[in-house]
Symmetry: C2
Subunit: 398 residues, 2 copies
Amino acid sequence: MEWVDGGVTLPQGFRASGVAAGLKKAKKDLALLVSTVPAAAAGVFTTNLVKAAPLMVTAERLQKGAAQALIVNSGNANACTGAEGYADAVAMAGLAAAALKLPEELVLVCSTGVIGQRLPLAKIKAALPAAVAALGEEGRDAAEAILTTDTVVKEAAVRFSLSGHRCAVGGMAKGSGMIHPNMATMLAFLTTDVAVEPGLLRQALKDAVDQSFNMITVDGDSSTNDMVVAMANGCAGNPVISTPGPEYRTFVEALTAVAVALAKKVARDGEGATRLIEVRIKGARTLADARTAARAIAASNLVKAAVFGRDANWGRILCAAGYSGASFNPSAVDIFLGAEQVAQAGAGLPFSEERASKELEKDPVVIAVDFKEGDCAATAWGCDLTYDYVSINASYRT
Amino acid sequence: MEWVDGGVTLPQGFRASGVAAGLKKAKKDLALLVSTVPAAAAGVFTTNLVKAAPLMVTAERLQKGAAQALIVNSGNANACTGAEGYADAVAMAGLAAAALKLPEELVLVCSTGVIGQRLPLAKIKAALPAAVAALGEEGRDAAEAILTTDTVVKEAAVRFSLSGHRCAVGGMAKGSGMIHPNMATMLAFLTTDVAVEPGLLRQALKDAVDQSFNMITVDGDSSTNDMVVAMANGCAGNPVISTPGPEYRTFVEALTAVAVALAKKVARDGEGATRLIEVRIKGARTLADARTAARAIAASNLVKAAVFGRDANWGRILCAAGYSGASFNPSAVDIFLGAEQVAQAGAGLPFSEERASKELEKDPVVIAVDFKEGDCAATAWGCDLTYDYVSINASYRT
């Protein structure tokens, strides 16, 4: 597996574009992603009871396991918009299908932006010809058009081989910029030219998401629009993966690698963040325990604020693991900040405050916790809690 | 029921004191609370897997349902201190028992302060004679001595009648000031002169805590030392309450009122907070749904930051209810900020930004959500998220 520059258009047979439709003031806000042939497709969606209209439309269409194009707008989430919002989402996909001359049921639709406002369909309709004309081999404009208040474009891609065929996985994501009121958060799109059956693509995506997007946290507020979509168009020409054998595992590894890379970019670009926090749990009895504890530590406001202040507050780490719901023996736990061990068997060590504080200045900050009870491990990612987070989220209308 | 000034010593037969033992730099840090006769006693403890040593000692002793005295120190949590910490907690209770000439098993022990450091027992021993000499009818010194970085003393008390006997419930609490590293959080002590069987006292305390201390949130980090203890010494002379009849209900109402008053003081004094947030859910199908949703909204960083910025972000309120785990129909929900309705049937209304912003300037800020599906209601309390919260929790060692 080889890391390469690029995003959703690196795999063969995918084109993308991003244009400004006027939903945001000056920036690109409308993206298209199109495969030359129908692709196997799968999605993972927010568990929030409140689901945005486009998410419902896309989830319904993905039940058949196939898609050929995706239209995404930023600047308006089309969430909490009732029956009219649902009709708008269907209409938006319909406009894209007509412009691309594709069957409607093969077109997926996503929105991200302000909650509770009707989608300006006329602006999207007016911009579609330019978006279709701009479709090309370069994914960066699309990656830019899906952003809201993210500070950087988020792309990742890898190349690998399957049965002698050259394959690729590419992806783009938008993260947790919620400067606008009620901004709806995380979107990620993964493409691959691997030929794989839809059922296995779904399983592969679930595995990849469990290790990546489900292991990041910015502020614990999971949104109404969160969605990850994968499309596999088979253009690499490999024999179709139809069993969970070695080819499947190679594919999952590549998909997971791209998903993890994008997820870390999202966490690192969390609102107001200055540093990525990586929390590694090992020695847990179950994978669920490891994941639960890692996520709770990464999500703790007290841990996040301590990292911002370079304060080696290991008690907050143990405390967060303790209330996470994970099962472990608090008297067995070792804790490390980077290379500096700060606690052993659940009690503090006389560590160097200076070295510990230095570890908390690094980017990423690595917090390692060993439960010393089993063989299961998990890693979660978050970011520090800063004055800017409060400023960004307090000051929209005032 | 009548609200009166006072705290733990308002009920007959309770004396208290608070002195400076030198665990904190200059402030009072050692409190005693003593009943003239053995009292029925009950406790509710943190669900954190990581439990402080004094909490374990107190929980063990409360299994018999009786206590006569309580010793509390601030400045050191005696948490994450291993077997030595447990021995220290037993020794601390033993010192108090000797000084008060009481059986050891009737003395409870609490600590709050820095995690991971051994308790300075010699300082506590040296200060005990002064603490015993200072025991009196005034509870304020004790209420002061249990504080850590709280900005105000937290006391509450009510008077009421049972079978013609004049009764009282009093209480004191310390809240969520965590300026020090790993400060362990919430303690509350409730006293009453009502005669009640230990089993019913336990049930009454659980009911009261479920509506008060279990419904507040400052930052979602539940601590290693959280504990609420109630002592009922029977000095009011009422016939012992031994069945859940009208007298029991009157008692629970008084106990709950004091617990809610203290809990709101704790939330209002949350780190860096400028305003109390009261979240009222009604129309839920179950009490659990109402409580879960109310707590999630009060705990949401995005909601808390929006209140700080007086930004009428109702979408964040609906979003938090949506991920809380509570069951409801998002398309039915009405949302009010104070008197201003901002959403109806799950979608936004054209409301007055100015009036909504004014509602968010009030203290408390009232957020009311109607699920319109059932008869269950619950209220939770929190506080806004401010620059000072980040400052307080980032800047201890640097």
